[in-house]
Amino acid sequence: MSTDVGPPPAPVRAEPLRAPRRVPVPLLLLLPSAVFMALLFGWPLLSGIMEAFRGPDGFTTANWERMAGEPRFWEAVRNTLLLTAVVIPIQFTFAVAMALLLQAKPRGAGFYFYVWAVPLAISDLAAGLVWLAIFTDLGYLNSALVDIGIVERGAQWLNYQNPTSLFLTVVVAEVWRATSLVLIIVVAGMQVIPKDYDEAAQVFGATFWKRLWHVTLPLLRPSLQVALILRTILAFEAFAVAQALTGRNFPLLVGETYEWSVNLQNPAVASAVALVVLGMSMVVAVIYLRALRQPDSVRSGR
């Protein structure tokens, strides 16, 4: 192609930041988002954080003591962690399984994918509404059981005297509600994985599970990392569905934030609880970022 134009241009490649003289390209790219967030959320965030330390005479930690002195708060912490720890592995296994099912290209894959993505469109409140209608004493589940004839009157799934059943209904509803998020991220990630690796492994006789474990999942790592971080942060903030199903019997952290802010008219303690949620999310995010770190020399597709 080139005739006589001198030495070929030096290959342009991404490199770790070195020369301080040019405006670093990544900075340019990040600037709009950073400025936007700082302008919009900067002061409200500061104000919200300071609120947690506000007392009638200025800076105080009384709100934190108030928060910690409430037995419901500790129940909420325990419940939030428990719910997250149970729901997330289920969701990820489920989502990856669903993505693999789709990848096997069954007939109607497009339709299936659409239905599996639909819960994403449903707001928390509507999700809580429908699962309550399913599990309530005169609800759809009991109706179906009575129709089939298994039981005469239907079980009381949401009876507060049965905490295991209560917890399981919340788990089922949460898995239904939030798996679509993980599914979509995983599917998007799978789209860009070159087929060749998998096919090569197949040619060399690897079984399905070996291929899954050694080829597909490692290539999915960026997507899984993102999905994990996002899903965990959102899981810490989940409460509408649980509240619809359990009433006041299963306190959750963000539910307590609302309670303090709205019913008890105490924005300071509400801020304190919110900061606890924030702290937990940050710790988890840091752990995920470290544990699932991408190697610095990003895959070049060779």
Partner: protein, 293 residues
């Protein structure tokens, strides 16, 4: 091995070994199980949505019956029409659509470049930046509501679509950045470099090479952004008074309404988001497993 006659060979003369149908049977069985698994999952994921639609189109009496029928035996549009004709539903609907689309565009415009930067460059503060972005998503918005409202009041933007758009875009930014970053990472760097060798600037290479290949990720974050904006209720309810979004207009009144109205409202809220996902899905499933070039 059968003996072969030396005469011209006709296929019908040759004794063929019996066809081993076992692999075919295995394949068929596997396909059948695949379909069965897909159907089971579809039932689990789709059934509650069907129930919302069913309940939204039932009369009040049907909802009070027990056992409840799982089939649409008595279709009644009474609650849905009462709901849709109540004051402010159509304007709120329009407000929500405008805000949803505007948020989408804004979040992508600001977020995709940042995602690219995270994916392609290694620089000090990359982790800090990501954590800072997540910070805004991790703090329950209840705490930010009043300061945000005051911010917009002083700026004179209170009760406008612009205010809600800005806040929604800020809420959607972390998701957009992270998801696009994760997909940009998977786009082979060599293609970009090849394009630049052929004379593209970095921006052109981004636009023509990376974006089309990363379309699934962009589509995914577009879906999330629109759905987030569409369903977001707290910020919208606090930042608006007379120009409300659909959730702000409807959801607060729903919780005190009779059951039938709650389903009608829930259903009306779901439909546009469903349509949006339907539209975007083709971009998500754009390329089934790309191959290396």
């Amino acid at each position: 091995m059968s003996t072969v006659a030396p005469a011209p060979l006709l296929l019908s003369d040759v004794e063929l070994p019996p066809v081993d149908r076992a692999p075919l049977r295995r394949l068929r069985r596997r396909r059948a199980m695949l379909q069965a698994a897909c159907i089971l999952v579809t039932l689990f994921m789709g059934f509650p949505v069907y129930l919302i639609a069913l309940a939204a189109f039932s009369s009040r009496q049907t909802l009070n019956a027990f056992p409840k029928s799982l089939l649409p035996t008595e279709v009644s549009t009474e609650t849905i029409s009462a709901f849709l004709s109540s004051t402010g539903v159509l304007p709120a609907f329009l407000n929500s659509i405008m805000i949803g689309l505007a948020t989408l565009v804004l979040a992508l415009l600001i977020g995709a470049p940042a995602g690219y930067a995270i994916a392609r460059f290694v620089f000090r503060g990359r982790d800090t930046y990501q954590l800072a972005m997540l910070l805004t998503r991790a703090l329950p918005i209840v705490v930010l509501a009043v300061p945000l409202a005051q911010l917009f009041l002083t700026a004179g933007l209170y009760d406008t679509i612009l205010a809600v758009t800005l806040v929604h875009a800020a809420l959607a930014l972390p998701t957009t950045i992270l998801i696009t970053a994760s997909v940009f990472v998977s786009v082979p760097r060599d293609l970009e470099e090849a394009a630049q060798l052929f004379g593209c600037t970095r921006a052109q290479a981004f636009r023509r090479i990376v974006v089309p290949m990363a379309l699934p990720g962009i589509a995914a974050s577009a879906i999330f952004t629109f759905v987030l904006s569409w369903n977001e209720v707290l910020a919208a309810a606090v930042l608006t008074l007379n120009n409300r979004t659909l959730p702000a207009q409807v959801l607060t009144s729903l919780s005190d309404s009779p059951l039938a109205f709650r389903f009608a409202g829930g259903f009306a809220l779901v439909l546009p988001a469903l349509l949006f996902i339907l539209l975007m899905r083709r971009y998500l499933l754009n390329m089934w497993g790309s191959t290396l070039r």
